[in-house]
C-alpha cells in the first residue's frame, strides 16, 4: 500500500505545477487574443485619445523609457558602491551587519510604501513635483536592494587570488577593486541591473502614488516634465467600463511584455558572453 500512496502524492505535486503553467498559458493567451488585433504601428506612434480606436501608447512608452533610463543611472552607481562596501570592506563589522539586515527588510517593503515616501520626500519636501526625476528617484530606491544583492553576488565570483595578486604588485585596496575586481564582475553587475530595471518598469502603484498622471497627451522632453508610463496607461484603460478601452489595455500589455522580454534577452546575452569569457 505504500507505493500507490507515493505515486498519488507525486501525481498531485506534478499536477500543481501543471495548473500553475496552465494558468500562465491562459494569461498569455487572453492578452494576445484580446490585444493583438489592436496592435499596429499607429498604436505605437499615436498618443492617448478619447477615441479608443485612435488612442496609442507613444507618450506612455516614451515616459517609461525616460523613467527607467534615469532610474538605472541613479541606482547603478549607488547600488554598486553600497555592494562594494558590504562585500569588500565592512563585511564583518556590526554596522555592516545592521545595514545588511536593513536591505533585506527593504526588499520586502510593499512598493506602494515607496510611493508614499516619494510623494512626501521627492514630490513635496524637495519640490520635484510630479516629474520624471521624482518618479525615477522613487523607483531607484525601490530597485536598490535588488541591485545591491546581485552586485554582491557578482563580486563574490571574483576569485581571491586576483585580489592577492594585485596586492602583491603593490596596488592599494581601491586600485585593486577598480582595476581588477570591478571589470571582472561587470557583466554580472549589468545583468543584475537589467533584471532590477525590468522589474521596475512594470511597477505601477508607486508611480500612481507620487501622482504620475493617468491622462497626459505628450512625451516628456526633460527630466522635470510631467509624465505617465505604460503600466499606468494600461491601468487607466482597464478601469474604463467601455470594452474598446479594454482592448487597448491588452494591446498596451503586449507592448509592455515585449519591452520586458527584450530587456531580459539583453540580460541573458550579457550573462552568456560572461560565462564564455569565464571559461576561456
Amino acid at each position: 500500500m505504500r507505493k500507490p500512496a507515493d505515486l498519488i502524492f507525486q501525481a498531485i505535486s506534478l499536477l500543481t505545477l501543471v495548473v500553475a503553467l496552465a494558468a500562465l498559458g491562459a494569461l498569455v493567451w487572453t492578452v494576445v487574443a484580446d490585444g493583438a488585433p489592436r496592435l499596429s504601428w499607429q498604436f505605437i506612434t499615436n498618443i492617448a485619445s478619447r477615441n479608443a480606436e485612435k488612442a496609442g501608447v507613444y507618450h506612455a512608452l516614451m515616459g517609461s523609457i525616460w523613467v527607467i533610463t534615469l532610474t538605472g543611472l541613479l541606482a547603478l552607481p549607488v547600488g554598486v558602491a553600497a555592494a562594494i562596501y558590504l562585500e569588500e570592506y565592512g563585511s564583518r563589522s556590526a554596522v555592516a551587519r545592521f545595514i545588511e539586515l536593513n536591505i533585506a527588510n527593504l526588499a520586502a517593503v510593499p512598493s506602494i510604501i515607496y510611493g508614499l515616501l516619494g510623494l512626501g520626500l521627492f514630490v513635496r519636501l524637495m519640490g520635484m513635483g510630479q516629474s520624471v526625476m521624482a518618479g525615477a528617484a522613487t523607483l531607484a530606491l525601490l530597485a536598490l536592494p535588488v541591485v545591491i544583492l546581485s552586485t554582491r553576488e557578482a563580486l563574490r565570483t571574483v576569485p581571491n587570488s586576483i585580489r592577492e595578486g594585485s596586492y602583491a604588485l603593490g596596488a592599494t585596496k581601491w586600485q585593486t577593486i577598480w582595476n581588477q575586481v570591478l571589470p571582472m564582475s561587470l557583466p554580472g553587475v549589468l545583468t543584475g541591473l537589467i533584471l532590477a530595471l525590468s522589474r521596475a518598469i512594470g511597477e505601477t502603484a508607486p508611480l500612481i502614488t507620487i501622482g504620475a498622471l493617468t491622462y497626459i497627451p505628450f512625451a516628456p522632453d526633460t527630466v522635470w516634465s510631467k509624465f505617465t508610463v505604460l503600466p499606468i496607461q494600461i491601468f487607466n484603460w482597464v478601469s474604463r467600463p467601455q470594452a474598446d478601452f479594454k482592448v487597448n489595455a491588452a494591446a498596451g500589455i503586449l507592448v509592455l511584455l515585449v519591452l520586458l522580454l527584450s530587456m531580459n534577452a539583453v540580460a541573458v546575452i550579457v550573462r552568456d558572453r560572461y560565462q564564455r569569457q569565464g571559461r576561456a
Partner: protein, 293 residues
C-alpha cells in the same frame, strides 16, 4: 593627494552609499509618522483602529480603518489558500522528485510567472478569471475578493515554491538516506523528514508570502472594487488598504487635507504589518541557516 587619504575618502563614500539604505528606512518611517501624527490629531487613534466605517471621501466622514483591513486580510487569505499548498507541493516535487531536465524547464517558467507585472495580473483577474467564475457562481459580483485573491495566489506561488525549495535542498542528504535506510518511501521521507527539517525555512517563505499579499496593490485596485466593507463574503466588492491609497492618489486631493493624510495613516498601518512579518521571516531564515551551517 596622498594615496592613503584618497583610500580613506573612498571608503567613507562607499559607506555613505551603503548607509543610504538605512536612510531610506528612516525616511519611510519619518514621512509616514509625520503625516500620521497630523492625522491622529484630528481623528482619535481608537476611532481609527476600531471604527467599522470608512467613508473619508463622503460628506459624512468616518475614519474606521477596519473595513480596509478586513478587505486586505480577506484577499490575502484567499491568495494564501492557493499559494501555500500549491507552492509547498511544487517545491516538494522540484526538490525531491523532479529529474534535473524537468527542473531546468520548470524553474525559468516559474520565474516568468514571478516577473509578470502586477497590472497584467489585474487585467487577467478582471477580464478572464471573474467572467469564468461567474459562470460557476452566478451571484458573483463584477468586482469581488475571490478573483483577485486567486490570481494573487498564482502570482505569489513562485515566491513560496522557490524559497521553500531552497530550504528543502539545504537539508543534508544524510537525513534522507537515513530515512530510506529505515524503509521509508520518498513521500514518507518528504513529509516526515525533509519538510519538518526545513520547517523554519518553509515558514519563513510562508510569512514572506503573506507580507507580499498584504502589500500587493494593482490586482486588487483593478479587480476587487472600491467599496470598503466589513465582510468575509468573497463574492461582493470590497476595498483593500493598498487599493484605497491608489484611489485617493488618482484623485486631485490637495496636500494638507485630512483626505490626503488618510493615505499616510493607512500606509503606516500597512508598513507596520508588513515590517513585523518581514522581521519574523528574516529571523526564521537566520535560524534555519544556523541549524545546518
Amino acid at each position: 593627494m596622498p594615496t592613503r587619504t584618497l583610500e580613506w575618502i573612498i571608503e567613507r563614500l562607499l559607506f555613505l552609499c551603503a548607509a543610504l539604505s538605512v536612510l531610506t528606512t528612516a525616511g519611510i518611517i519619518a514621512v509616514l509618522a509625520f503625516e500620521t501624527y497630523e492625522f491622529l490629531r484630528e481623528v482619535p487613534i481608537l476611532d481609527f483602529l476600531t471604527g467599522t466605517e470608512w467613508t473619508p471621501l463622503f460628506a459624512n466622514r468616518q475614519f474606521g480603518v477596519l473595513p480596509l483591513v478586513a478587505g486586505t486580510l480577506l484577499v490575502s487569505a484567499i491568495a494564501m489558500v492557493v499559494a501555500l499548498p500549491m507552492g509547498l507541493l511544487a517545491a516538494t516535487y522540484l526538490s525531491e522528485y523532479a529529474p534535473d531536465t524537468l527542473r531546468r524547464i520548470v524553474k525559468p517558467v516559474l520565474e516568468i510567472l514571478a516577473g509578470v507585472p502586477t497590472v497584467v495580473y489585474g487585467y487577467f483577474a478582471l477580464t478572464f478569471v471573474t467572467p469564468l467564475l461567474q459562470r460557476v457562481f452566478p451571484t458573483l459580483s463584477g468586482f469581488n475578493a475571490l478573483s483577485p485573491g486567486l490570481v494573487m495566489g498564482l502570482m505569489i506561488l513562485p515566491l513560496v515554491s522557490s524559497l521553500s525549495e531552497d530550504a528543502m535542498r539545504a537539508v543534508p542528504s544524510g537525513l534522507r538516506e537515513g530515512s530510506y535506510a529505515l524503509g521509508a518511501t520518498r513521500m514518507q521521507t518528504a513529509i516526515k523528514v525533509v519538510v519538518p527539517a526545513a520547517f523554519s525555512g518553509v515558514t519563513a517563505a510562508f510569512i514572506l508570502a503573506v507580507s507580499r499579499a498584504i502589500g500587493e496593490t494593482m490586482i486588487v485596485a483593478i479587480a476587487a472594487g472600491q467599496q470598503p466593507r466589513l465582510t468575509a463574503n468573497p463574492f461582493v466588492p470590497i476595498e483593500t488598504m493598498t487599493a484605497y491609497i491608489v484611489q485617493v492618489s488618482l484623485g486631485d486631493t490637495p496636500q494638507g487635507t485630512i483626505e490626503y493624510r488618510t493615505i499616510f495613516a493607512v500606509g503606516m498601518l500597512l508598513f507596520l504589518m508588513t515590517f513585523v512579518l518581514n522581521l519574523i521571516s528574516t529571523w526564521l531564515r537566520e535560524r534555519f541557516r544556523e541549524e545546518y551551517a
